[in-house]
Structures are given as structure tokens and as C-alpha cells.
């Protein structure tokens, strides 16, 4: 078995209100950054999976991202493999 490390990036679907992004965006002009728009805050989940090979590990992370790490009703996700031990 090999340990594969992944990052899962979860973001709200475009069009859905992102209150955290709004709040961050609202704070920037006061600091002099008055040219920033479209701030969206998402989730970054890092995890390590023990699997026989890369394909199995990737498939498992994709399934976990679909079934629990994100909610497909309101979110989309991206899986990045960052390292293998």
C-alpha cells in the first residue's frame, strides 16, 4: 500500500450568495485595496489515503468528495493530488 496525499477544494456554486466572500470583499477598500471584486471563500481539505495504487486512491477521494466533503446541491469541488509517500 502507498500513501497518497490529496487536497480537495470545495466552493459554493456560482450564483449562490457567499456571505464570507462578501464580508472579506467589504473590508478591502478600507485598507486601500479598492480594485477587488468577486471574492469567494471556499474550503480546503487535505487528506492522506492508503491505497494499492494511484487510480484507486483518486477514485476513493472523488467518491468521498461527492458523498460527504461537498454537497452537490450547493457546492462544486476539485481534487488535486499533491504527494505520494
Amino acid at each position: 500500500m502507498t500513501a497518497f496525499t490529496f487536497e480537495v477544494l470545495v466552493s459554493l456554486k456560482p450564483g449562490l450568495l457567499d456571505p464570507q466572500g462578501k464580508a472579506v470583499e467589504g473590508s478591502l477598500p478600507a485598507m486601500g485595496f479598492d480594485n477587488v471584486t468577486d471574492v469567494r471563500v471556499g474550503k480546503h481539505i487535505k487528506l492522506t489515503v492508503e491505497a494499492p495504487d494511484e487510480a484507486a486512491a483518486t477514485a476513493q477521494v472523488q467518491e468521498m468528495a461527492t458523498r460527504v466533503l461537498s454537497n452537490p446541491v450547493i457546492e462544486e469541488f476539485e481534487v488535486l493530488e499533491v504527494a505520494k509517500a
Binding site: L12, L16, K43, V68, N71, V73, I74
Partner: protein
């Protein structure tokens, strides 16, 4: 007639479990405490998933609780037609578990809301509205920060086509106005049901609206309906 046994599940971070059991008792039922880590519903006649902040709303509201061991039993109970009611966080859990359509996100106002609201009853074909009449309005409090019901386009079309909306935020006379929607919910939807009508979730808190000494009593009809459903042992 024996008192219906109504199970109330406590998750880590549930807040309104004791209130829900108290409301059941006040209305003449027997409240049964259930525990999230058990795979046992203790033979209850109906299940309530109460309000609160299970697992501190980590990941998403209700996401972790929806995968708790007892939820396998709740799902099987629901599949057999057993009455299941999710209130506030319990509604979020049922959506996360895939037992109800849609999801609950941050209120459009970005503010926590805590107030008495009017709800227009949309259907009597559920285990908590069988004693109510479509079109009538009831008053019940809300208290939530993430209660804006949203859905995919396909889900929304199905909800409206099949009459799965159970309550809409309205004025006392039943009119739907922007200022009667406390969280920006799509189509003013405050609660939804599954196709069979035995699983229902809503953001407002009927368990806080049964005692006339402390506020509105709009929750009484929901508990009366739930008890009748529980004793009948069938769906609405």
C-alpha cells in the same frame, strides 16, 4: 388510547432535544430520548431530529450528523413509512442525508433571525399537517442563521410540481411578500416533505409553540398530527 412514543435524537451539539421532549409531554405523548451513536430507535412510533448546532456546524450544517450511526436506523424507519420530523438543524440533517430535497444555506440578510413568523400550510398530506387545512396560517418562531432553503433547478421543479412544499413564510392572511420571508428562502419555502409525506423538515420550531404561557401556539396542530400519524403507524 395509549400515548404515542415519540423518539427525539440527541446529537453532540443538539440544543432543542429537551424542549422537543417537553412539548411532546405537554401535548400528551411520551418523549423518548434517543442517542446518535446507538443503532436503536427503542421501538418508538415516530422520530424527531431536533434543532441545535450538531457537531458545531462543522463542514456544513447537519453534514456530520447525517452520517451518524442512528441515521441508518432513521432511514430504514422512514423507508417503512415511519413518521420522521426534522426541526431546524434536524431539517438540515434530513437534507444532508438525502431524505429531503434541497439544502439550507446562510440567510440572505447575512443575519441570524429570531422572531415569530407566520406560515401558510400548503398541504395536509404529511404526518405533521394531516390535522391542518391547506391555506390556513399558523404562527411559530424561527431562530437560525442558515435557514435559506435552496435547491437545484431539477429539485425545485419537482418540489413545486409534486406539491412537496409543506409550509411557506407568509403574512398572517397568507400573502407571500418579500418582508414575510425571514431568510430569503426560494419560493418562501419553510418546510418540505418527501413523496410519501412521512418525512418532513422545517426551519421554524413547533416545539417552542405549544404552551400559551410563553408565546404562539401554532405548533400544537403539528404535534397533534404527528401523534395521530404515530398511532396509526402509517403514512398520512
Amino acid at each position: 388510547v395509549s400515548a404515542p412514543r415519540i423518539g427525539v435524537v440527541t446529537f453532540p451539539g443538539s440544543l432543542d432535544d429537551a424542549d422537543a421532549r417537553r412539548a411532546v409531554t405537554e401535548m400528551g405523548g411520551e418523549g423518548v430520548a434517543l442517542w446518535h451513536a446507538d443503532r436503536d430507535l427503542a421501538g418508538v412510533d415516530a422520530v424527531i431530529l431536533p434543532g441545535g448546532f450538531s457537531y458545531g456546524d462543522y463542514l456544513r450544517c447537519g453534514a456530520i450528523a447525517a452520517r451518524a450511526p442512528i441515521m441508518d436506523e432513521v432511514r430504514a424507519f422512514a423507508d417503512r413509512g415511519g413518521p420522521v420530523l426534522g426541526i431546524c438543524n434536524g431539517f438540515q440533517i434530513l437534507c444532508e442525508a438525502g431524505l429531503l430535497p434541497g439544502a439550507l444555506i446562510r440567510n440572505a440578510s447575512l443575519r441570524f433571525v429570531c422572531e415569530d413568523v407566520w406560515l401558510r400550510v400548503e398541504t395536509s398530506r404529511t404526518v405533521i399537517t394531516r390535522e391542518l387545512t391547506p391555506g390556513e396560517t399558523i404562527q411559530i418562531p424561527v431562530k437560525h442563521g442558515e435557514g435559506q432553503w435552496v435547491a437545484t433547478r431539477e429539485q425545485l421543479e419537482q418540489v413545486e410540481a409534486d406539491g412537496l412544499a409543506v409550509f411557506r413564510y407568509s403574512a398572517e392572511d397568507g400573502q407571500l411578500r418579500d418582508d414575510t420571508n425571514p431568510n430569503g428562502a426560494t419560493n418562501h419555502i419553510a418546510g418540505v416533505r418527501n413523496a410519501a409525506g412521512n418525512v418532513v423538515g422545517l426551519m421554524p420550531h413547533p416545539e417552542h409553540a405549544v404552551d400559551p404561557d410563553v408565546g404562539p401556539t401554532g405548533g400544537q396542530g403539528l404535534f397533534a398530527s404527528l401523534f395521530e400519524s404515530a398511532l396509526a403507524g402509517t403514512t398520512a
